[in-house]
């Protein structure tokens, strides 16, 4: 009954699924729940992702933003339209290249981002309620190490590419 060795991965057989499966399962659930909490504010996860990136990486072109989010520029158009019509971001003229816009986060957008942050914290609290604070921190470290190991971009959910507008 010793612990499994590294080259002979555990097959948790009955009772608990594999960590990899659980990761996908719980991750999907987390994404769904977060989207549900976001919906009342009129945002989709993709909206939140856009605001987040604009906040962190300053003004960018739509092309660059699409690249970061891993979605087609054509799909970004509608999302940007929606956020701009709500006054959360602005399409300002790009100084050096008149083909493109420089997307800016407005004050109102920054404020929305804070609301989103609050929702995210509530979400996290509910999601991880089964763990002690200490364990939550450990979980976060494990996940961050996995994410880094696989070259995942911080703050960019691979699923943005296919989360509805």
């Amino acid at each position: 009954m010793g612990k499994p060795r590294n080259d002979e991965p555990s097959t948790p057989a009955e009772g608990s699924a594999s960590a990899a499966f659980l990761l996908a399962q719980v991750g999907s659930h987390a994404a769904t729940k977060f989207a549900e909490r976001l919906a009342p504010l009129g945002f989709s996860p993709a909206h939140a992702g856009i605001l987040r990136i604009l906040d962190k990486r300053g003004p960018v072109t739509q092309q660059a933003l699409a690249g970061i989010l891993g979605m087609f520029p054509s799909r970004l158009v509608a999302l940007v339209d929606q956020l701009e019509s709500r006054g959360l971001i602005e399409r300002r003229d790009h100084l050096e290249d008149r083909r493109s816009y420089a997307l800016h986060l407005t004050e109102k957008g920054r404020s929305s981002l804070q609301s989103i942050g609050r929702v995210a914290r509530e979400h996290q609290k509910a999601l991880l309620a089964a763990l002690t604070v200490e364990e939550q921190s450990q979980l976060g470290q494990f996940l961050q190490r996995i994410a880094d190991d696989h070259g995942l971009t911080r703050g960019v959910h691979p699923g943005y590419a296919r989360l509805k507008s």
Copy 2:
């Protein structure tokens, strides 16, 4: 610099994202990578899920299977067709109700399930390579507790409902 208290969740600010976000991010990545490993065998995650459930929960009707997977019965038809045409499952007559079929896993299906299991273990090994075996086990326990806490059905990925045929 003490640890955050429970009613004042940590905002990891810079450097590392929140555990909830990481969960969704890494989980999505895990699902994608698993699907990629499965593709060469001619399976989608949904296929694997069906075989898995038939193996564990004996013969079931398509209606019941759709319920378990959280997908529409109409969508299941094509998936079952594909698996049956490959001889991995069978639509046998239901003894008590001639409207429905009893879906059975064949020997060949059982063998495919083993191949899938091997792929899953390779996948897990690669996915969790950044963690020690001890940490992998801990991660699995954390995730299982979260999954149980939220009433997630063991072995059923919420995303099956929208993973391509």
